[in-house]
Symmetry: C2
Subunit: 458 residues, 2 copies
Amino acid sequence: MKKTINIGLAGYGTVGRGVVSILLSKNEELSRRAGAKLRLKRICDKSFADTTKGKTSPRQSPPQDKNIKGLLPAGRVYTPDIEDIFSDPEIDIFVELLGGYQPAKRLMLLALDKGMDVVTANKNVLAKDFNELLSAAAKNKRRIYFEASAGAGIPVIAAINEGLCANEIYALTGIVNGTTNYILSNMSEGKADFADSLKKAQKLGFAEADPTLDITGGDSASKLAILSSLIFKSHIKPSDIHVEGIEQVKPFDIELGRELGYTIKLVALMEKVKPEAGTALAKSGAAFQVAPVFIKSSHPLASVSGAFNAVYLKTDAAGDQMFYGPGAGSLPAASAVASDIVYSARHIMEKSSLHMPFFELKNKPPRIADAREVESCFYLRFTAEDKPGVLARIADVLADHGISVASVVQKDGFSHKAVPIVVLTHEARTGNLINAVNEIDKLKMVKSKTVYYRLLDI
Amino acid sequence: MKKTINIGLAGYGTVGRGVVSILLSKNEELSRRAGAKLRLKRICDKSFADTTKGKTSPRQSPPQDKNIKGLLPAGRVYTPDIEDIFSDPEIDIFVELLGGYQPAKRLMLLALDKGMDVVTANKNVLAKDFNELLSAAAKNKRRIYFEASAGAGIPVIAAINEGLCANEIYALTGIVNGTTNYILSNMSEGKADFADSLKKAQKLGFAEADPTLDITGGDSASKLAILSSLIFKSHIKPSDIHVEGIEQVKPFDIELGRELGYTIKLVALMEKVKPEAGTALAKSGAAFQVAPVFIKSSHPLASVSGAFNAVYLKTDAAGDQMFYGPGAGSLPAASAVASDIVYSARHIMEKSSLHMPFFELKNKPPRIADAREVESCFYLRFTAEDKPGVLARIADVLADHGISVASVVQKDGFSHKAVPIVVLTHEARTGNLINAVNEIDKLKMVKSKTVYYRLLDI
């Protein structure tokens, strides 16, 4: 029996460094669990090129890293040339930590073709091309592991695929982006505005120099696509998801929400839409969206603050389940990658015939419901003239669209010309609400665009 | 290759019914995941004896159960005789859901000897005889699965054994008993006292007719023993755990705690004790205890209310992780049992050589630290005469024992003869605190036994 599992790792960035550090410092324990010596045979990163002599060649000595000093393996381990991994017939597991789309995807497919298992943290490639990667794994009787692709070190992918395999998961509410959760938490606590909170997040390393993908909700959507694909066993694509970001969130609404007992969070949502007899929507399906929403402050998800992540699942047998942990960072993500490596090694050692033991994306896809079909309670903040009859007029339009009011709060205004009127609604169809808001925003007495958020009933 | 996995299940109580229901109603999906047809071949329960003819013999028809009607397998499946399982050479997996200690333990050992894998929800046997069961499994090259033994359907055992296998877990704080959490939540919300809350819990089915094991903390201790054994890979026994229950908790302290920003919870705690140079405690070790404590109300664990459970882990790589879900109930526990059955079936199908793939309890045990060694902040409620100098005298004794006061709150008294004085302390060694309290309680001006709870800093 094979006694050593050889690993080729590409990408020595934040996560790559963490993985190398863990694999070296905990090698004995991890090898014991894997049932074979885990050997980091090749680590590839462009930065390892020695360009001092005017040509690209491997360095003689490994890169300096005080965290893993003394643990660095000797010999020609660090290389700038990816071919050093793919031309080595001994490599059993290809660990892809390059991030981005290409060349990551091409290299993962190449690794599977060469008979290697793949461990990756790459949410972009998976969200977009899940089926293609799984098919390549199946064709080659290899496996692909990706626990770190959503929720960093939180073992939520294993929970969905294995621990909860006897459940139908009928709703998912995830806080899956640490940057936006940090910004919203900071806005909630410090009453700072969005721009200042973003700057603070960047300063503290919780937001990247270009935070676009985070704050627009794109990153959350990729993770939702991956988690939802596992739930439906059918590829849910980022394009199936209705996405809103947090750029427009105002401290004023956060504070008002807080007074009403709600906390704002950017959430990734999967919810099954009930068929409604006798209507055009008489079909079941599922809606996928990323949006800032209000959550009851007593709910466990409301206490997920700062850069933490959590995934909240509603299941038919195991009830409500929540998995919570840091959403990003070198070691949390590396923790997931390392457990995937152990998993892969064990399957290789066992000569497992299961090419994809956990799931297959072979189910019929659900009907993708439009976000407008979703029923929800809402928080509405109108900005209107401070004179008699305004609220009645607004309530009339809401009623015309079948939306009933649960409570009304009138606050002091920003200016003496307009006052904010906050309305909490009973459950209403999102499409009806949007139509009502559009109509109300055309009224002369309404002075600026109405702000609305879902009040999430979880 | 074997295409059917035969299951023998013993114990048709709350959990047993849930497992049968899930295995029958979701058979196709679970079989697909297992890679083999999962066949419930024998279900054994004493209640299946047909005593109408004066003798114990299997019934001709299965028991009536409207939840699983139409799904019940035909033939001689339901039996009162456990020998029908053990004399059947086709049985691959023995599912032990009898609960209690004997005959459950004897039957699990017998099943392993007969070459069956064992799936169990039995916290009592595991907490007490973990090593013996694992040794029997190893000797027979079989496996034992027990996800349902702590936290019901929450896949926290898989998380510790697999998803977080690259981590050192240096602290665990678990709300692992639904009954006591329900009672404390009810006392917190309704300001009801302990006795009334217990009655309500019994009425709603959240507490058993004899709730002793729950309210004294014994049930939490069993679960802590199991989870800690996995963390240390060494058998931590219930006798290693310092246990206090919730019988003495008063609504008055809950309310005071709430005002100070804390929520009371019965928690199971594992914490590593730091070695302290130059003292008698210059050894590392770990302390294990079950006790009611105060948790900051903003902490995720504080929002775990009602019959929910949660396990909060502090790890070196993946940071703080929390796993949350219903702590008991037929279907939540059955969800975990079903996923263990799938796991077991997959290993049998793969002819896995790993007799215990996830862990072994072979590490050197940690030094079991006394609960008195633990450092913590504390909530103290003294009941003393309402006259000058009392607080100064109390503060003197605290200072003599090296305990420094963080804040003091004086409240209106229960009677005009004595007032409650609440003191929050800075970090102090538990042993010193107990000594100080014992000394204070001997003072003439102190009118009743001082109440103290840890203020948990997590």
